[in-house]
Amino acid sequence: MTQRTVAKRIYPYLLIGPAVVFVVFVSLYPALYTFYLSVHRTRRGVMEYIGFRNFEIIWESSNFWNSIQLTFIFGFAFLLLVIGLGLALALVFNSRLQGNTLYMTIIFIPWMISEVVAGVMWRWLFLPNLGVLQNLLGPLFASDGGTYMFLSDGTGAMGVVVMATFWRSLAFATLLLLAGLQTIPSELGEAASIDGANRWQAFRRVTWPLLLPTTQVTVVFMSIQAVNAIGMFLSITGGGPGRATEVLSLQMYKEALQFNNWGYAGSLAVVMFFINAALAVIYIRSLQSQNAFD
């Protein structure tokens, strides 16, 4: 084998080498260390191997199942809003109205704000006595003529976080769905119209089936975001009141950084890993079915 041939074979690996090293140190090593942590108990920096005891505690923990339930409630409410309104906006933008670019820019502004900054903003909007939205909406939602304190009630607090996350994520969902709509040939819609279909029938019979793969991809993508959401929860409610907004990702964060319970936090991270892995498999299969459809 000539020197030139050897160099030619090694060259691609040299090119991807730095990226691989980076991925190993930033992703693979922390992931493996998390698995390692999950089978240990940590006390002020001292580690003790305990096997699967952390996972037994998770299984028996009411706080864990409460977090799972809250994660699904949050995810469901968030998806309903972001996909529903995202689709509506995508359809509007796809109709090429005048000023589309300006409207898209305005909708994208929340996405450009850092998650924690957005969360603090929303918390201030609902501050007791001072929050603008608290003062506007509090009397409307009160049952006894007083004022409903959103952040003092579990349902209200979760509602605020759902709205804040939806407000920030709407643009991205709209963009994904709009991209899907723009792959659908306009002639199909025109043909349906010529055949006598009204707008709803054209959407239901022509547009929606063609948009379904993109919608599936968007739903899974947003689901992954919902499962891993923590910034808004941390900055708006901190998991309160009580544990009313302590979703799984926040519980993991608190076990690690508030309670210094790194081993247990590692085991929660492993559970989240498997949830995310399942969603990732669905995401990839949705992508593949979309490509096959194309």
Binding site: S152, P241, G242, Q258, Y264
Partner: protein
């Protein structure tokens, strides 16, 4: 030849880089406090910055100051020491953190470092009770602070502010009307709520937070009774529910806005509530201690000071800094800046502690002051308990004893 010369240069450089940090360490100390030295609005931040500059000028030792959140100081130090990492030379600490730090092996005894210093002999009980454990000194405390109840004199008539549970039940409904409250106090999801709001009542009712080992001991009828009393306070509208769901500032707001007849905070509240000290000195507002649950009236008390971590690089320089810090007029100013009572006798002689405010603080802490029970996992355990208390206040249907048991098991599983 050229190659050897360049190689020699590189080796020399590498040696210099290795030696330089070692040389620098002897001329440097690292201090952790909760103060932001760039905050010119906080008098003690300014004082500390000036004291550091003075120390650097007099000794030639560079001070590296790192701001660490108050509730993270002891945890961060414990982890740094146990993990074998770099540890600072001097750390701010509260008396409630000392047992946990001792358990973690994170603090060094100070008798050898400070034994000959005259000012150490002038430290009073507020220091000794907190810092001398089994005849060994582990910290030096510069001031003592504690929980206080402030009440508007004209709101409570001739009998004054009630100090028993029965008295509260009798007077609170008369003073509260939905928009105005009998009292307001932080009772949120932080260990500070346990310290200030719940612990004095628990102790007065014969309850405990921790056993001798520091394990949870709060799942008892006595603590459940305190929970039920708390529910009366919030669900009857005598205290605003915001005390439970908001932060410290939210708890102060009803008092500042004139909607609360009393306010349960601490001697430090004068920092955050505008004009409070003046109101006390003028007689418009009076001060009292805790509520008697049958075992006496108590208030949370804390001594604050400094520890020298085990493994500190430059403990002698840390001791020198402490000697400069404990100059009487400086400690007097420092304690006044925190609205606490200085532990140094000579500092207490300074005239600013003659006022009605400080006389009341001294009297109440002397008669009712109660240090916290100890645990190696103090902050973490009480944070978990505070969250449970918040849940129980918000949901009266939760069985208090069962919930207390659940959180005790949660803490046991986590740390024991």
């Amino acid at each position: 030849m050229k190659k050897h010369f360049y190689l020699f240069l590189v080796l020399l450089l590498a040696l210099g880089v290795m030696i330089a940090p070692v040389a620098a360490q002897g001329d440097e100390i690292v201090i952790w406090t909760s103060y932001d030295l760039t905050d010119t609005e906080n008098p003690n931040s300014v004082r500390l910055a000036e004291k550091i500059a003075e120390f650097e000028e007099v000794t030639g030792i560079t001070v590296v100051h790192e701001q660490v959140a108050w509730d993270q100081l002891s945890i961060a130090l414990s982890i740094a020491v146990q993990a074998g990492g770099d540890v600072p030379d001097l750390v701010e600490a509260g008396s409630q953190h000392i047992p946990a730090l001792l358990d973690a092996g994170a603090v060094m005894p100070l008798d050898d470092l400070l034994g000959d210093e005259d000012w150490v002999a002038d430290l009073g009980d507020g220091d000794t009770l907190a810092c001398v454990i089994d005849d060994e000194r582990y910290c030096v405390a510069h001031n003592v602070r504690g929980g206080m109840t402030y009440y508007r004199v004209d709101a409570f008539g001739e009998d004054g502010f009630p100090t028993t549970v029965e008295g509260w039940r009798e007077v609170a409904p008369e003073v509260s009307d939905g928009e105005n409250y009998f009292s307001t106090q932080f009772a949120g999801r932080s260990y500070g709520a346990i310290e200030i709001m719940w612990w004095p009542m628990i102790y007065s009712n014969g309850g405990s937070l921790f056993d001798e080992e520091g394990r949870p001991a709060w799942a008892t009828e006595e603590v459940a009774e305190v929970v039920e009393f708390g529910r009366e306070l919030f669900n009857n509208g005598w205290f605003p529910m915001l005390n439970v769901t908001g932060d410290f500032a939210d708890a102060e707001a009803p008092w500042i806005d004139g909607n609360a007849a009393s306010f349960r905070g601490g001697s430090w509240s004068a920092i955050f509530v505008p004009g409070l000290q003046d109101q006390v000195d003028s007689g418009e507002v009076a001060m009292t201690g805790g509520v008697d649950f049958g075992g006496g009236s108590y208030v949370f008390m804390v001594s604050e000071g400094f520890v020298v971590p085990e493994g500190a690089e430059n403990p002698e320089a840390a001791a020198s800094f402490l000697s400069m810090f404990f100059e009487p007029s400086f400690v007097a100013g420092w304690a006044a800046g925190q609205f606490g009572i200085p532990t140094l006798g000579a500092a207490y002689e300074v005239s600013e502690f003659d006022s009605t405010f400080y006389q009341s603080v001294d009297e109440i802490l002397g008669a009712q002051g109660l240090y916290m029970q100890q645990s190696p996992f103090y902050v973490e355990s009480l944070d978990a308990l505070a969250i449970a208390f918040q849940e129980m206040m918000l949901d009266p249907s939760i069985d208090a004893l069962q919930r207390l048991q659940d959180v005790a098991e949660e803490v046991e599983n986590r740390y024991w």
